[in-house]
Symmetry: D2
Subunit: 433 residues, 4 copies
């Protein structure tokens, strides 16, 4: 977790304070259930809720001695709770607390990321609608292909992150489970009803069968999902980086009018935010495999997963939260240059319409070969002139061409509107009618 | 794709024959829609359906010249269809065919894998029920912890693969989309109703917004899911490998009575199937990252994803299909040795019950310290004797111990039934009442 | 291994024919050593060398029965050798043959890849020298920065692949070892001198300590190295893809004058080869992690590595060999457009020189602030005009500027030569004086 | 970077204090070279060396404003140096400082890791020699195979880490380069001799051709190497975990006599250190792919690599350093139980010798079939008795067997010495004569 790529709300989820608070709640809710079941006296639970407290530093101090974080926490808790403390954690194992806590943390982290995606979706929606009909060149292989609209580009990003939202909701459900099942998960020393109570109180579902630990296929699915979201961030970031290239310059990351930069080199505005997002995507993607490797624990449990999760739990969620927010900021304020898009559309002298001309000529009765020859000889001229001659002008001046398609009709073929006839349909599909 | 790790049904999905057949269906269904829309004559569609045919070798031959597989296919198709062929593929791009075909293939592959998981679930369910109350030692960190049942081990695997089933269903939905949207996805030359028709006919949903290609976050999610399933396979395979260790030997991969092996070394039965599954899991897991890297295509599309998918499309699905089937076979016929499980449970001389004795002593009024001392001095004796003395015998002979807990009651504490009281509950959770 | 991304020489290394031939040589050389040691009769070795033969189909047939490839091979071999066959493989295990064979295959594969890199280096060297002083814009963050030469770009690629060559040589040495050490590697049944003899005969070094298998850290290092080489291929491929973008168009993958393409859209030449290389790089990179996971075998050996190697052994080497050759072809024939590079250099109206003007003004006595103001006001004018006004012209016409730096001297500041003063030095560093 | 998996010396390399100190040295040495070249006055360099200082907090403060760390540093430095500060950083870019600094940090990190490996090698060597002839069962597939010695197991680990040492030395050389080449790496504003001087002063070699940044294939190779070392750590950690299993118990992680643990369950000593190492290995391995993805920067440079390196630079080196040290501690104090090894060797009743008996019978003239039958019928009896009958006893009592091999000679066949005849040879190969 790197401060400069972190936001406080997500960081807070992973701080000791928050973790111990969740531990406390798990233990206290478990007490309530044990009281209900007649296993421990009501006063004990009351004491825990009322007197229960902890201090991170004190826990650290005890842990340095005991080398065991849950024992350290319970010891510190007992210092506050007094004699009733001996009823705390009864029949439970450390994993009951640790794994259920991780479930809470990952679920909360998912909530933040879902909110992040919502914010991003709102921005993408607004800007997609704003540029719904802004003509821009569609590129395949980095080469000019056919016209599209800038709104469609953004709408595609919207649809992609809308899928990411659904994936995050599913990933949240994967990990939001509670296990209070005792050693090797048999409930030998604790009634399953305690688990049911704690699960409900903590907003989790019950883990159907645990083996002291919650199975790690759940966490693997969670982190794999973050990897997919990271890939989507990378895609949009890459789009912005391409658009901001000096030769393309159809959009730029926001640059405040007075912002200090290379004032003597006004073109030197670097897409550093989206480059950064590209790097952050690599980081989150790199955390998928360790999470997948964590699944195959030995027998009922080993602890190899723990160090992995101590690192990727915070790192993946904090990084992705930051990346989503940064991307939202980039898209929100993205400087979009429709004139430049138009200039780029025009820079090939209308060559991007040549296929449509070809079609029109054949439909008007020209043989495929003849039509090709007509289009090609004019297209090559435009190409050699680097787009400084307009294909339309050449075609209008070519009697063989106008023999099939009249000059006025030729102009129609160069109309972008033709390409945008279904933009509304596509928008309706994604954003609703 | 390696023959020895392949099954014919999955391989068939990826064979040229199957691919071209899907292409044909996409083109023919598109014709139907175009007829409906009055764009092409009804006879053309009729000709395609009736006369349409192709030969893999002929297509290869043409492709060697044209270096373009879709054009080669269309050319070969035209050789059969005759003049009506000029209406085929109208307004479409190669990607419309290729990407929709990939969706069909991945969906069918998912169907096979879901069926594989169903077969595995049936086996796991049967064997879990069979060994529902077979006592076995639960191990944390590879060390004996508390008793559990072999059925619970298998039930955990059942629950894990049940989740995998749901994930595969979700993954299937991710990729089962159809795009017939033309160059850069604007439908400029093709009516969106064609896409709707083809989608329905091919059992797909419509891709809301494509950009010539179907967005690769879908495929990434699909392959990431396969990676998770592979991890679950690895977990169960690792369990079997552990159980088959010479010193543990609680279960073995099936070995036919007359099977040729190391006849002079009857112990040399190697868990080679599950070791193989471990390796296959690594392979499938390794394909997740390339799929994640495929998301960030440039602008509307580049073709970098293609070579990746040509390899991992078949390799990941064929390998996982094979691995699921192999695992099903292993679990179906797994030789399970309850006597050995009991022997292993007993080998520590009852030390695994020491915590319960401790609890009973304190509940009977002994101080925590005194109880510890009593248990520890006897436990250490058992430990030093390598389990050849029984803890129960020592305790019964220890007057301080029997001063708190009578000999008869001590025996109760060594009863496995205590640990299995909630096994039914857990089974009901997973398999239903 | 996909035919379209394969070259025959590398494929041949992995074909059964080649594998069995290596097995034969290992067995036969081992016989020679055993004869030397007086363990087997000289005639036996003679018979093996003279009568020894095998048929792939026959081996497959036997393997279908025995389920063991080495036994199948030995059985088939015995069919040819006759009674002397009983001396073959004496004291050896299957792994001795399999692992030593893999070492030979990987070493030969490395030789081919080293030769591939040599061919690539020759091309890069030639073209770097050819364009040593071809001015082109250097870009940071995709934004015009300062001039450089196209030769320097290629020289950097040369240096990168020169490092790759050294890495491949090191990787080859890692895996080119021989183990003929018998079960669990103790030489209990075979003299270490047999290993030494076979190693020498097969062009390998002796594995100092094997445990039936050759340790897999060696192979991991090998495949990790291939991953790095793949990354370097991706870098150069990405450069070409960028250069070929419609708006940049400083270079293009070769396109034969008569080559069929989109004849009506002459600009539609897609960098499909380098896009393909990008995908192939992802594939090879994805094979690194499985190879790393293969290291931690259980105890003296388990067979989980085998399925991984059966796939990535051929796939990684065949793919990388193909990719290196394809990249060599791309760079060999790359269409390079110096005029377009110049046009791009000029397109910012000389803004790329503004920092040098700034420096000159301060050196001529202007305060940093005043110099900034002078440069900035003119630069912004150029920027707003989209480079259609030349900065040099504006500066010459700005009396405050010329008050510090005379018009003639200003021109000097716009000279590219200034940037290229050390090009020779850099070339000498990389290519030698 | 997680405190509990960190050691101070490695952490220190990555702390701001250390980084800024390296920056200072780079700038100051560059000044010396510029003085030498007559570019800046001698007094300026003198001032920098004598008055130069910085405060991390002050730099942070300035960076919050300027959003640029190098500028913030230079500003703070100037506050101390005074007017001479304007000569600092002349002709250089931020990358010159940043990339050269990273080279220094990674080289120093490599030095620490090489020292870590040396410490590990010393421990492995000592313990390998200590247990050179301690008999233990060699296991293939987790199944008893043939005897080996515990020293050979450790020797193999020694040889593996000895290779890792060489790899780390090579990895260090990869990254220990210096680039002071200015914008896009042309040396336009700085003489290459400055670079040569700084390189020498900082203990680096000159980067032959940089493009503002040092090429990232170097760093990729470095991190890939760390991934291989992590895999080797995982292998040895896995070995210990296996040996410590309750049923095997041939070795244990050190447990101090008075160490608090589960005092009532003396068998519950968990191999948590090696389980932790397994997890740490996953983490380091997960950082390889992001490093590989960092190679393909756009054109002369983009900054996407930066965020990746900010995380994996410290994380990978700190984690691996910690892991190597932890592994050294584990192996140094590993509790090794030769009696238990012997017991495990004996537990199959001598079945592990059956192949040798088979060989002896055939050599004594028995037909292969007859010998098989003799061994098999006795072996199966031992196997069914779970090793509680000794194979040797049965063979001695089998007249058909003793008809070929006398009882006294049979005993010889059960001698472990036979298996250890070449142990010295193997040790000499690895450790020298």
């Amino acid at each position: 977790m790197i401060p400069r790529y972190s936001r406080p709300e997500m960081v807070a989820i992973w701080e000791p304070e928050a973790r111990f608070r969740i531990w406390f709640e798990i233990e206290a809710h478990a007490m309530d259930a044990l009281v209900e079941l007649g296993v421990v006296p009501a006063q004990a639970a009351k004491d825990v809720w009322e007197k229960g407290a902890f201090e991170v530093e004190r826990i650290d101090e005890i842990e340095r001695e005991t080398k065991h974080d849950v024992i350290a926490f319970l010891t510190n808790l007992a210092e506050h709770v007094g004699p009733s403390a001996r009823f705390v954690h009864q029949g439970m194992t450390s994993s009951d607390v640790l794994d259920t806590c991780l479930g809470v943390q990952l679920a909360r982290a998912a909530d933040l990321m879902i909110a992040d995606v919502d914010a991003l979706l709102a921005v993408l929606r607004r800007r997609a609608i704003e540029h719904k009909l802004t003509p821009t060149i569609g590129r395949s292989h980095g080469i000019h292909a056919e016209p599209t609209t800038f709104g469609l580009k953004l709408l595609q990003a919207y649809a992609e992150f809308d899928r990411c939202r659904a994936r995050l909701v599913a990933a949240r459900a994967e990990v939001a489970t509670c296990a209070i099942s005792g050693a090797v998960g048999t409930f030998a020393n604790i009634d399953p009803r305690v688990e049911a109570h704690v699960a409900k109180a903590m907003g989790l579902t019950v883990e159907p069968v645990s083996t002291q630990v919650i199975p790690r296929d759940r966490h693997a699915m969670y982190f794999a999902t973050l990897g997919v979201v990271a890939g989507c961030i990378e895609r949009l970031a890459t789009e912005v980086r391409h658009l901001q290239r000096t030769e393309v310059l159809e959009a730029e990351e926001y640059f405040a009018p007075g912002q200090k930069g290379s004032s003597a080199m006004p073109h030197k505005r670097n897409p550093v935010l989206t480059e950064n997002l590209t790097g952050l995507a690599r980081l989150v993607r790199g955390m998928v495999t360790p999470a997948l490797e964590n699944i195959a624990l030995w027998h009922e449990r080993d602890i190899s997963h723990s160090s992995v999760e101590r690192m990727i739990g915070p790192d993946a969620t904090v990084t992705l939260d930051f990346a989503l927010a940064r991307l939202t900021g980039v898209m929100d304020k993205l400087l979009i240059y429709p004139e430049r898009m138009q200039a780029n559309l025009d820079r090939m002298g209308g060559l991007i319409h040549s296929q449509r001309v070809l079609l029109a000529l054949t439909q008007a009765g020209a043989s495929r070969e003849a039509a090709y020859a007509m289009v090609q000889r004019n297209a090559m001229q435009v190409w050699r002139a680097d787009g400084k001659i307009a294909l339309l002008d050449l075609l209008k001046a070519d009697p063989e061409v106008t023999g099939f398609v009249a000059a006025a009709d030729l102009e129609q073929l160069f109309d972008f509107g033709y390409h945008f006839a279904h933009v509304d349909t596509i928008f309706a599909r994604v954003l609703g009618a």
